[in-house]
């Protein structure tokens, strides 16, 4: 009797669990099932759905919450101007879970099953690629706002991007190295997918700028010991170290280990050296190194972007904009412009509309920067974009603008099309 009794319990639990899982999926879809008529030309008054795939949970939930806030703000701006052809825009949000592409795939699929006109997201290259696969399979337009690996949209009709690619930022890094006389340099990055692809691209592009790469060290993030990597950097004869993809704790450990082993080389990178918490944690090590340079793109430093961020923080209370706040906002504006041409219809009509937009001015990158989609190229931000170079000041223990250095990355640096 006891055996039978205790067997029924897990059956009940199993069925209840399955019912629970099914109920979850049904409840999350039913909220937008009522507004599911958006693929065909929108009837009068019915809202146009735009989907957002963001990492609301997982390893970086603050990124997701910032993205959500900016998305809501962008939608409110569009609706404030009367919507798209008189239709109000409604935002549909799905959580990608932050880490695994399987979660991203689930999020993108649910968005396409919700019959959104266009999907915007995700911010890591691997997840964006996973989203591209769904976009191509389901014929739903995807606009990515952040992933930087070059060439991710090649040959994918339904995938677009309004982000700087690695090949573009490489130009700024190498120009800086040439100005400072750092040749050869070493590359240090972790082995995440972005880290590996960025390092590989940098190695390939270095020759174009006449810079030699003396060493390319990597580690599995998070690292507990970086001594072999640091000693290799010292041995390699490099004049400076480029820090690619690296988390805050890794950069702190790297800087401290470099100082402890007497590897006194300047370090520079596109933001990792100034990640939140790192200046405070690694400050003493930074002051002991011959120079620490934070080379950031216009996106976060230019006056218009800063005005945008202060407006965002006033509207939403978010003080930190996430990885690419202005690029996300631009993605919504581009999508709205495309949808205006197709009267709210997505799919192949939207692809044609986006490709015929011409030079669409963006908030990222400052005055004169634009996206320009053609049938053969769907990625990148064009126009002059200026990188601001911050140098570590040991006396004030903070980064300050180094006005003697500034780099203009020209339009042709590595961009396709």
């Amino acid at each position: 009797m006891r055996r039978r009794h205790s067997r029924l319990v897990p059956v009940a639990i199993g069925l209840a669990a399955l019912a629970g899982v099914a109920a979850c999926s049904s409840s999350s879809s039913s909220s937008s099932a009522s507004a599911a008529a958006a693929t065909s030309a929108a009837a009068k008054g019915s809202p146009i759905l735009i989907g957002l795939a963001a990492p609301l949970t997982g390893s970086d939930p603050s990124e997701g919450t910032s993205e959500l806030a900016i998305a809501k703000y962008a939608v409110s701006v569009i609706n404030g101007k009367g919507g798209i052809d008189g239709h109000q825009v409604q935002l549909v949000v799905r959580d990608t879970g932050g880490v695994s592409p399987t979660g991203a795939v689930t999020a993108f699929e649910s968005l396409s099953s919700d019959k959104v006109a266009v999907v915007i997201g995700e911010y890591t290259s691997t997840n964006f690629q996973a989203g591209c696969t769904i976009a191509m399979a389901q014929h739903v337009v995807l606009i990515g706002h952040a992933s930087a690996t070059t060439g991710l949209t090649d040959g994918k009709t339904y995938c677009f991007r309004d982000a700087y690619q690695v090949s573009q930022s490489a130009g700024a890094m190498f120009e800086t190295a040439k100005t400072m006389g750092w040749n050869p340099i070493a590359i240090a990055a972790d082995t995440t997918s972005f880290g590996v692809s960025e390092s590989t691209e940098f190695e390939a592009l270095a020759a174009k700028y006449g810079i030699k790469i003396a060493a390319n060290v990597s580690w599995t993030s998070p690292a507990s010991s970086l001594t072999p990597q640091v000693l290799k950097l010292g041995q390699s004869g490099a004049k400076a170290v480029f820090i690619g993809s690296a988390s805050g704790p890794d950069v702190t450990l790297l800087a401290k280990t470099m100082v402890q082993n007497g590897v006194k080389l300047p370090i520079f990178g596109p933001g990792g050296v100034n990640a939140p918490g790192v200046p405070a944690a690694a400050g003493t090590a930074y002051s002991a190194l011959p120079g620490v340079y934070d080379i950031t793109s216009y996106d976060s430093q230019v006056a218009s972007a800063q005005a945008f961020m202060s407006l965002i923080s006033k509207e939403t209370g978010i003080t930190q904009g996430g990885e690419n706040p202005t690029q996300l906002y631009d993605a919504f504006m581009v999508a709205a412009a495309g949808l205006a041409k197709t009267n709210g219809q997505g799919g192949a009509a939207l692809v044609t509309a986006l490709q015929s937009l011409g030079q669409f001015p963006t908030m990222s990158g400052g005055p004169g920067t634009y996206v320009d989609y053609t049938p053969t190229q769907h990625s990148g931000l064009f126009g002059p974009h200026l990188y601001t170079i911050y140098k570590w000041d040991a006396t004030s223990s903070a980064f300050a603008v180094d006005s003697s250095l500034s780099t203009v990355a020209d339009e042709s640096s590595g961009v396709n099309g």
Binding site: V11, A17, L18, P101, E109
Partner: protein, 359 residues
């Protein structure tokens, strides 16, 4: 004997039928619901159940813990994609290739780790899982490296594929049910109960343990091939140590029963994971708390049952003797003095039950 086993198989058909009904209900419910999201959720659940069943073969039948199931799942997935892209064969052939790869991996890994038992074996397999993850990342010519690779001809969210996966999961669990009753199954359970005794009555312990690993890995690799059919895109991020830990937790949560335990464990873990992702920032914390609370309160799992005579009772603690202990300060002397005093005071000892091995 044969007749008795045959009757047992027939009796077991009751559970088989129940299992088929459960999975059929799930498939029909999801198909009727119609949304791609529900289909994907059910597919993920079906694949997770397959992985849990594969670990049940190793852990539930043969007491060999493994943290490599998801690594082998990845091996199956990459082999299937490689075979399909290089030779363009259809899915069933790729499935056979994955199964063969899994079995080969099982034999390859089981031999060197065969001396280890229990949780140190788990640690050995942890090392293997990490090495496999690194291999997926670094062997770019075979796996496409960190950027992953697209699967040719994948059918994302198709209801027939979901039905196939659920059917396979049901089939494997039914197989486990009958395996448990069969001669080989009983032998392997005898090995699990007491290895030395089993060897002494002529059971080939080595062979059974190796076969358990090989079959388990073959099932996991087959699940990997099915995964590629639905994913469209695979990358090393899909096959991490965390996922392997999830499978192990699911089996332990499930408990003693090989059929309902597999299903209950997979369902419970999926629900724990799914329910907690709606709360940003707290999801992992809740998962950790759930792990501690559920496993702590139900250490034998959801389907384990505690027969009272197996419960451990601590012996009555003998009171410290006044002078006898001080005269001989060695550990044996102190313990002996305590025992002497206990007897002298004629306190009733309860007979200590030695903790039986549950797994």
């Amino acid at each position: 004997m044969a007749a008795w086993i045959a009757r047992a198989h027939v009796r077991a058909a009751r559970t088989d039928l129940a299992m088929v009904v459960v999975f059929a209900a799930v498939v029909i419910f999801t198909a009727a619901h119609g949304s791609d999201f529900a289909t994907t959720t059910t597919i993920n659940f079906g694949l997770f159940t397959l992985l849990t069943a594969s670990l049940q073969i190793m852990l539930g039948f043969s007491n060999q813990a493994s943290l490599t199931q998801v690594g082998i799942y990845g091996v199956g997935a990459y082999v299937a994609v490689y075979v399909e892209t290089e030779t363009g064969v259809a899915m069933p052939v790729a499935l056979l290739a994955s199964l063969a790869a899994g079995a080969a991996a099982g034999l390859l890994l089981a031999l060197p780790l065969s001396r280890l038992r229990e949780h140190i074996l788990a640690m050995g397999t942890l090392a293997v899982q990490v090495i496999l993850s690194e291999a997926f990342v670094h062997l770019t010519s075979l796996t496409g490296g960190v950027n992953g690779e697209a699967v040719p001809d994948a059918l994302i969210d198709s209801v027939p594929v979901m039905a196939t996966i659920c059917a396979c999961a049901a089939g494997v669990i039914i197989g486990l049910n009958h395996f448990r009753i069969s001669r080989v199954g009983r032998r392997i359970l005898a090995v699990k109960a007491d290895e030395t005794m089993a060897a002494s009555i002529g059971i080939n312990v080595r062979w059974l343990r190796l076969m358990a690993v090989a079959v388990s890995f073959a099932v996991a690799a087959g699940a990997g091939c099915l995964f590629t059919e639905t994913a469209g895109f695979i990358s090393p991020d899909d096959f991490t140590l965390t996922s392997s830990l999830a499978v192990l937790v699911a089996v332990i949560l499930g408990g003693r029963s090989v059929t309902w335990g597999t299903l209950a464990g997979a369902a419970a873990y999926s629900v724990l994971n799914a329910e907690t992702t709606s709360l940003p920032g707290l999801s992992d914390l809740l998962l950790g708390i759930m792990l501690v609370v559920v496993l702590g309160y139900l250490p034998s799992g959801l389907t384990g049952f505690r027969v009272p005579w197996q419960r451990v009772r601590l012996p009555y603690r003998a009171p410290r003797a006044s002078g006898a202990a001080d005269s001989d300060p060695t550990p044996q002397g102190t313990a002996a003095a305590a025992a002497v005093d206990a007897c002298a005071h004629k306190e009733p000892h309860t007979r200590p039950r030695i903790l039986p091995r549950k797994w």
